[in-house]
Structure formats: C-alpha cells, structure tokens
C-alpha cells in the first residue's frame, strides 16, 4: 500500500501531539467562550483527525488517488451528518 513507511519516531511524535491537543481540549472546555466552546472543541477535533489520517493512516505517504478517495469518503460522511442534523440545526430559524 504505502511504499515508504514512517519510522516509529513519527508515530511517537504524532501521538504526543495528539495528547497535547487533548490537554488543550480539556483546558479550553473550562473557559466560557459562549457559543464558541463547541466551535473551538470541534476545530481541535478536526486538527486531531487530520493528524491521525495523515500519519497514522499513512495518507501522507500515499498516492494522490488515495487522497481523492479519502476526501470523497469524509465528504460523504459530512453530507450524511448534516442531513441527520438538518432538523436540529434549523430549529431556531423560521
């Protein structure tokens, strides 16, 4: 699948970065940012997911065609989630 495999050091550094992001998530959750608490928490989650996909899932070391399929998968997931949340997201909007 992937021709050049990263070293265990890459995985260790990536895991450490994820732990730093986790600490950041917990710290920021205790600060009142109004409606932006959710936005910031989900923003950090997107950053963490990007790290996992790029390094743990080897996307960084894969061919462009694999990027296309990975993006298509998550784009489809986004469509499904926004359809599932369509009622909740439009409740206060008459």
């Amino acid at each position: 699948m992937s021709a050049n495999i990263p070293t265990s050091r890459t995985y260790f550094v990536n895991g450490l970065a994820l732990l730093v992001f986790l600490a950041l998530t917990i710290l920021i959750a205790h600060v009142n940012l109004g409606p932006f608490n959710t936005v910031v928490a989900l923003g950090i989650s997107v950053a963490k997911a990007t790290l996992i996909i790029l390094f743990f899932m080897h996307l960084r070391y894969s061919k462009p065609i694999v990027w296309v399929f990975a993006f298509a998968g998550f784009f489809w997931l986004a469509i499904m989630l926004s359809l599932a949340l369509s009622d909740y997201l439009t409740r206060g909007w008459r």
Binding site: M1, H30, I44, S45, I52, I53
Partner: protein, 72 residues
C-alpha cells in the same frame, strides 16, 4: 434525548473498540507465532485503518459528550 444519544453513541463505539481489540490480539498472536505479516501485509494495513477510524470517532465523541458545558 441527551442520554438516548449518549448510550447509543458510547455503546456502538464500545462495540467497535471490542471488535478492534479482539482482532489486534488475534493479529499479534499470529504475527508472534507464525511467519505471516512479514512484509507489511495488506490485512495489517487494513486493521490499522479500522483501528484509527475508531480512534477518530472518539476524538469527536469525547469533547461532544464530556466537554460540552463544562465551563461555569
């Protein structure tokens, strides 16, 4: 409503994690006892992809169910 979604999400996630742990133990035993998975086999890659998919789910679930409304 929150606890309906809470139990559903954590329950399905627990099922995924259990499947992942069982498969990883089986793969580890096979790699330890036999010569399978010598040259970065596709099954190992796929199990890795599955495990990190479960990982990504928790990355989003954890802040959404445990960190929302934590502030005073």
């Amino acid at each position: 409503m929150f606890f309906y979604i809470y139990w559903l999400m954590t329950g399905v996630h627990a099922l995924h994690v259990t499947i992942g742990v069982v498969l990883i133990v089986l793969f580890a035993l096979r790699a330890w006892l036999t010569n399978a998975f010598r040259n970065h086999d596709t099954p190992v890659e796929l199990l890795g992809l599955y495990w990190h998919f479960v990982d990504i789910v928790w990355v989003f679930l954890f802040p959404l169910i445990y960190m929302i409304d934590r502030h005073s």
